[in-house]
Symmetry: C2
Subunit: 321 residues, 2 copies
């Protein structure tokens, strides 16, 4: 029998959120600390240990934690290590899983943020019961977590599922944070939507509520606010974004023919302004044999809890010996 609780830790460059989660996906208790406060990773882990231990004690959960799951940028499930090239205040690679499980005396599994979200969705959310689905996270970047035949796809090196970096524009594409050009992420992340807004405002000449904003600091939230008010240019920005995302999803289907895509992250707050063009573009672009078969769903995880929930779900993978 698995123990009744798991700990989920969502480690970001700025904040680290964590919580105790039960088998039904209820977050029993949660809190956070500043990631960047500590110059040394050891001090960070000490503070995390103190805070989580206090939380465990307050909830009478001592000895009842099945495992600790961590979602972190560039975290490798196979090696338990945070690899190079991430926005964290410490030198990489960091053998995080080992450090945490030694400190806590509880088994620890880590994976990247998007995979954690997919596992969370499969365990507690819109993908319950699905064996073949693809999670797409639309945030600052575009992440993905792929589940095939009920199993997370990690690839031979643990880095599978970088669908934000398929090339959507092979000529004259936007620069991407990965150092290449034309990536899906450069168009369909929240940042990508803001870039599209700036492009549209420069190229087009029609009136728009967006012209009242400072063009250099427009956000995807501003675009949504204007779209809701009936602003044509703002709505066209979502149309453009959804169209590209639909084209991308249509290509992904040729790979694993999923039963559903689950879309997660801030951009989904724009609701049908973004979801309708995604669905329309997907059905228009997908190969005949796949038409009408694949659902495009919005995540059912509460945004505030999602990262912790997703990470926590990894804690159930640990089997008692």
């Amino acid at each position: 029998m698995a123990k009744p609780y798991v700990i989920g830790i969502d480690m970001g460059g700025t904040n680290t959120a964590f919580g105790i989660v039960d088998a039904r996906g209820n977050v029993i208790a949660s809190s956070s600390i500043k990631t960047a406060k500590h110059a040394k990773i050891e001090d960070y882990i000490d503070e995390l240990y103190d805070e989580i231990s206090r939380m465990i004690a307050a909830n009478e959960a001592e000895g009842k934690i099945n495992g600790i799951g961590i979602g972190a940028p560039n975290a490798n499930y196979f090696t338990g290590t945070i690899e190079d090239g991430v926005n964290l205040p410490w030198p990489t690679p960091i053998p995080l899983a080992d450090m945490i499980s030694e400190k806590f005396g509880i088994p620890c599994v880590i994976t990247n943020d998007a995979n954690a979200a997919a596992i969370g969705e499969m365990t507690y959310g819109a993908a319950r019961g699905l064996k073949d689905f693809i999670m797409i996270t639309l945030g600052t970047g575009v992440g993905s977590g792929i589940v095939i035949n009920g199993q997370m796809v990690y690839g031979h090196d643990g880095f599978a599922g970088e669908l934000g970096h398929v090339i959507m524009k092979r000529h004259n594409g936007r620069t991407c944070g990965c150092g290449r050009t034309g990536c899906l992420e450069a168009y369909c992340s929240a940042t990508g939507v803001a870039r599209t807004a700036r492009e549209f405002l420069e190229i087009r000449e029609d009136d728009s509520l967006l012209r009242d904003y400072d063009i250099d600091s427009i956000t995807s939230k501003d675009v949504y606010d204007c779209a809701v008010k009936g602003d044509k240019l703002a709505q066209d920005i979502f149309e453009y974004t959804g169209n590209i995302l639909g084209e991308a999803l249509a290509d992904f289907t040729t790979f694993s023919s999923p039963e559903a895509f689950v879309i997660f992250g801030g951009l989904t707050k724009s609701g049908e302004y973004i979801m309708r063009p995604i669905r329309e573009s997907y059905e228009k672009n997908v190969m005949g044999v796949f038409k009408g078969k694949t659902k495009i769903l919005i995540s059912e995880l509460k945004e505030s809890d999602a990262a912790v929930l997703g990470a926590s779900a990894l804690g159930w993978e640990i089997k008692e010996d």
Copy 2:
């Protein structure tokens, strides 16, 4: 214990090849019949049964056949059915697996041609020991078979692995047999190479041995023959083809991060004329985290035996009760 032999059947629109295969991948005996000769599927299966029974008897293999594997166009592994929209002389869908296993009294599994090739490669060929690889078949079309974590990817409906139909040119792309435009298959199949040859001959003005051929009937073999003789235009055609294929493989890696791609089919006979540009384009285009990690291999299956071998490997999936 599995029985010592399997039957592989490669069902094409024109011919059906079949053979008896042992556990080491030796084709003990093989033959073929005309697929299109019979107006009724039942008559076709009768002839296949007579021919294969004779072969089994001649090789003293009665009672020693573990299973029958069939590779066929649009064959669905899950349903055992050949689905609609294929170039076969009989009405579809055809419940082929059931019809064959009833007639022969031997369990039968079917899948599409490219998946059969991938299973063959994993069982007997270049992918032995690999748990994560993608088979790309370059023939009249471009097919694919994807293996993740040692398992064939079928998708929720059995139609996964249509990588010949990801979109490589979103504007002004070539028409594809699937009814859309810009698909990988329209550029990188043998037919695609011939189309490129015709385009190059029309657009460019430099001398080429290819100008001695009838432009409307140029084949990828003609392009190879000229490339070998040092013809620059012919070599550029492979450069163009390999470049697109490398871009496509780089995108596929973001999905499943395979240990290797295995390239199969007629076009691989062009050797380094096609393989060098594929490898160079792949390394140039792939995302940083994947650089230098993934091998691009040529199939080790003998072309003449490959389809039968690949199909036969499915026969090992059948476990004796």
